[in-house]
């Protein structure tokens, strides 16, 4: 008889017409909320960290959010002289890349790749590529990915594959017409070739076979000036200059063209344009730089328009464009998302100014004249950019880091040979005990995993690294074993299925009991550095981790909470936060407490917070853990904020 009731319900279905669906609105609004949630929780974690104690500014990275107008700056903390083995001075670093724990500098004049160790800020290796081309200065671009360095050789129509370990060229991508820029995105190598008066094309290359597996002709006298990956798609900044100028000035330099600027989405499988988002039009005079950097942050595309003095933040879902006027302080060129800020670099080399990625507020410019106006890259927690020298020549690389207002700069080898590490006094129950080297290594490994975002529950893929008491001393340092759980596939259906080995047959809800990830760390003087990682991470995650460095910890013991978040569950909200105990064991340390605040739609906190306690470590070792709790979610709650602190603070 219940079937008849069911039939009754199903029978009325056709009589209820369904209105048009609006997936775009759902996704757009959903993304907006996700960004807001990230911001709220990040800010809360920072507030708690500020109470918790020492070493915070090195660890929190992008979480150090405060109003940009408060004076956050970039500062050159070290200058790395380049090697000039062939007496061709000054050298000319044409391009930089970060990979395998090192900064790689491609020289234009002597045809070398020079490797900088971020732990020492010194060139420790030079790879000679002069034998690969008659004109070493023609080597154009370097990129790191898939275990190799990729160097474009436009005159030979090749991309060289260089083994970073041996320094040998062990493969070549051939048949490309004047390859220039290389980008390693989504597991493939993408090469922009041609340009100028020639047809410009984008090639997709399989890094394993070195075969070209797709191409896209983009046009003539245009086109691509940047390429990034966002949500599995590729986006390019695209400019198109009409062949006829607006005026008929006899001198080419005086002619003015109408310029069409766009962002275009590329389906990486089909290698085809599938969507266009127009940007504000502009005028173009020969010699103008029409489009600056293109990058991504907080789910948006960001592109600079130098001649307009503007930076555009573009929502890829809705197509909404927010233009930020930065013309008062600089002419925008490269964009770098670093430390939770979008840094806009002046094309003239005067410096960079931060933009808050959410409020779009522009902060004061940092004077980086000494660093020049090249294209900075990020690696090992710092920015690296060719230094300015006489004229347009460069002979060194500047290491640049963010300095928050009121905070001392992070220690670097060059900035100070052996500065005393200063740490703020803990608010309660300080525990100052020397850690053994093994403990230092284990704590540093956890901090590195957290600081590089791998334990961030808000990231698309996150891990719960559980201490496995599997630490061994090796020649290269300390090898620390972890049981990693909660791995997720990042892509499906594209031949890029990721599985977490070691989790097979285990309950994903209960986690993994097997050690399947090893992080090898080594101490160089007073700095710890990640030198190797084995396990089930994606290559770019390993790249992010290897090379990460911090001074050894000498301050009071304390809790750190580098990541926190809240997720829906069937019966409420799961609260997840990473709690790191920075100190020796066993300990008389306090515990930690995390409070969950429910936020109403109008932003007001609802009722009393719910508290979750983490006991102090009382076993042989428990430097880190994920605090989890389940809380019923009030239907009226629009958001959740998690705040953590040390008990008694």
């Amino acid at each position: 008889m219940s079937d008849e009731i069911r039939d009754l319900f199903h029978g009325v279905r056709p009589s209820i017409s369904v209105p048009p669906r609006d997936l775009r609105r759902v996704v757009g609004e959903g993304r907006r909320r996700l960004r807001r949630r990230r911001l709220l929780s990040s800010a809360a974690a920072v507030a708690a960290l500020a109470v918790a104690g020492a070493g915070i500014n090195e660890v929190v990275g992008r979480r150090g959010l405060s109003p940009v107008a408060s004076g956050e700056r970039l500062r050159v903390v070290a200058t790395v002289p380049l090697h000039a083995p062939y007496d061709l001075t000054p050298d000319f670093p044409r391009d930089l890349a970060y990979g395998f724990g090192y900064v790689w500098v491609l020289h234009a004049r002597d045809g070398t790749l020079q490797r900088i160790d971020p732990a020492t800020n010194r060139v420790d290796r030079v790879i000679d590529l002069r034998g690969e081309t008659r004109d070493p200065s023609s080597l154009w671009d370097v990129e790191a990915g898939a275990g190799r360095l990729w160097v474009t050789n436009p005159s030979a129509g090749q991309v060289l594959a260089v083994d970073p370990a041996s320094g040998r060229v062990d493969g070549r991508v051939r048949g490309l017409s004047h390859p220039l820029g290389t980008y390693f995105l989504g597991g493939a190598l993408w090469v922009i070739a041609g340009g100028g008066d020639d047809d410009e094309s984008l090639y997709r290359v399989d890094p394993a076979t070195l075969e070209v597996t797709g191409s896209l002709r983009t046009g003539t006298e245009c086109c691509l000036s940047g390429i990034v990956e966002l949500d599995g798609d590729l986006w390019v900044s695209y400019s198109d200059v009409p062949s006829r100028p607006r005026n008929d000035a006899p001198d080419v330099e005086d002619r003015v063209f109408d310029l069409s600027l766009q962002l275009r989405r590329i389906d990486p499988r089909a290698v085809a344009f599938v969507e266009t988002i127009p940007l504000a039009g502009d005028t173009y005079r020969p010699g103008d730089t029409v489009l600056g950097g293109l990058t991504t942050a907080e789910g948006h595309l960001w592109v600079a328009r130098p001649e307009a003095g503007a930076v555009d933040r573009v929502d890829p879902v809705t197509g909404r464009v927010d233009s930020i006027d930065v013309s008062a302080s600089l002419r925008p060129g490269t964009l770098t998302y670093y430390g939770g800020r979008m840094w806009v670099w002046d094309l003239g080399g005067s410096g960079a100014a931060p933009i808050d990625p959410v409020s779009l507020e522009v902060g004061p410019e940092s004077d980086l004249t000494v660093a020049g106006g090249g294209h900075p890259i990020e690696g090992a927690g710092a920015l690296w950019v060719p230094s300015g020298s006489d004229g347009d020549q460069h002979d060194s690389i500047s290491r640049i880091e963010a300095v928050a207002p009121g905070r001392p700069p992070v220690e670097t080898p060059e900035a100070s040979a052996a500065p005393p590490e200063t740490a703020p006094a803990p608010a309660a129950d300080p525990v100052v005990e020397e850690m053994t080297e093994r403990e230092q290594a284990e704590v540093f490994a956890f901090r590195a995993l957290a600081a590089t975002g791998l334990m961030d529950p808000f990231s698309e893929r996150s891990y719960n690294f559980t201490y496995a008491d599997d630490t061994t001393r090796e020649d290269g340092g300390w090898r620390i074993g972890f049981a990693a759980s909660d791995c997720e596939p990042r892509r499906r259906g594209e031949g890029h299925v990721f599985t977490c080995r070691g989790l097979s047959g285990e309950d994903p809800e209960l986690g993994n009991a097997l050690t399947d990830t090893y992080v090898t760390v080594a101490r160089d003087g007073r700095r710890w550095r990640v030198v190797d990682v084995t396990g089930n991470m994606l290559p770019d995650e390993k790249r992010r981790l290897i090379g990460y460095a911090l001074p050894e910890h000498r301050g009071p013991s304390h809790w750190e909470f580098p990541a926190a978040g809240a997720w829906p569950a069937r019966d409420g909200v799961v609260i997840e936060m990473v709690a790191l105990w920075i100190g020796p064991y066993p300990t008389r340390a306090p515990g930690s407490v995390c409070e969950v605040h429910l936020i109403a739609e109008d932003g007001v906190r609802m009722g009393e917070p719910r508290r979750f306690y983490q006991q102090p470590p009382d076993r042989a070792f428990e430097h880190a853990g994920w605090v989890k709790g389940v809380e019923s979610l009030d239907e009226d709650a629009d958001d959740v904020v998690v705040e953590c602190r040390q008990s008694g603070d």
Binding site: F9, R13, I16, D231
Partner: protein, 158 residues
């Protein structure tokens, strides 16, 4: 990430109709039903990273939408006063109006359970999980709903 986005899109496309119809049956207003449906899917998008693992994701959206619908319906639909808005339905079905009127006579939990079970085709155990009540309570709600619907609609042998 691309795959995840496609999966949410497929989820949205496959579940949208039933969620909207469920809301409309509950509250009788197309405007409120659409608003609640879109909002429920927006919340699902925010939670998609975790929701996508579960086979009850569709039920979660339906439950969320029904809750929203109930709360946003400023003027609850009492028995005998179902508003048959000027909607572009393919013929104003007496069945549908009758069903709405009958549902309007049910207690909120009974109505909720009936829509999840009969329209959403969710098993009792899933309805219990989604409504955070026991299976026995769901069965009781469904039984009461059946009786009320039988009376109201004069469905024989219900």
């Amino acid at each position: 990430m691309r795959g995840a986005r496609l999966t949410f899109e497929a989820f949205y496309q496959s579940e949208f109709d039933d969620v909207f119809r469920g809301c409309f049956l509950l509250c009788g207003s197309r405007e409120v039903a659409l608003d609640a449906t879109q909002e429920a899917f927006t919340r699902a998008y925010v939670r998609w990273r975790r929701l996508r693992r579960h086979d009850w994701a569709g039920g979660w959206v339906m439950t969320t939408a029904l809750n929203l619908c109930r709360r946003r319906s400023r003027d609850p639909v009492p028995l005998g006063e179902v508003r048959d808005e000027a909607v572009p339905d393919r013929g104003a079905s007496f069945d549908r109006v009758d069903l709405q009127r009958a549902l309007g006579a049910l207690a909120p939990r009974q109505r909720h359970a009936a829509i999840l079970h009969y329209l959403g085709d969710l098993p009792v155990v899933t309805v219990a999980e989604l409504m955070q009540i026991s299976e026995g309570a769901v069965k009781a709600h469904l039984s009461a709903a059946r009786k009320a619907l039988r009376r109201a609609l004069e469905v024989s042998d219900v």
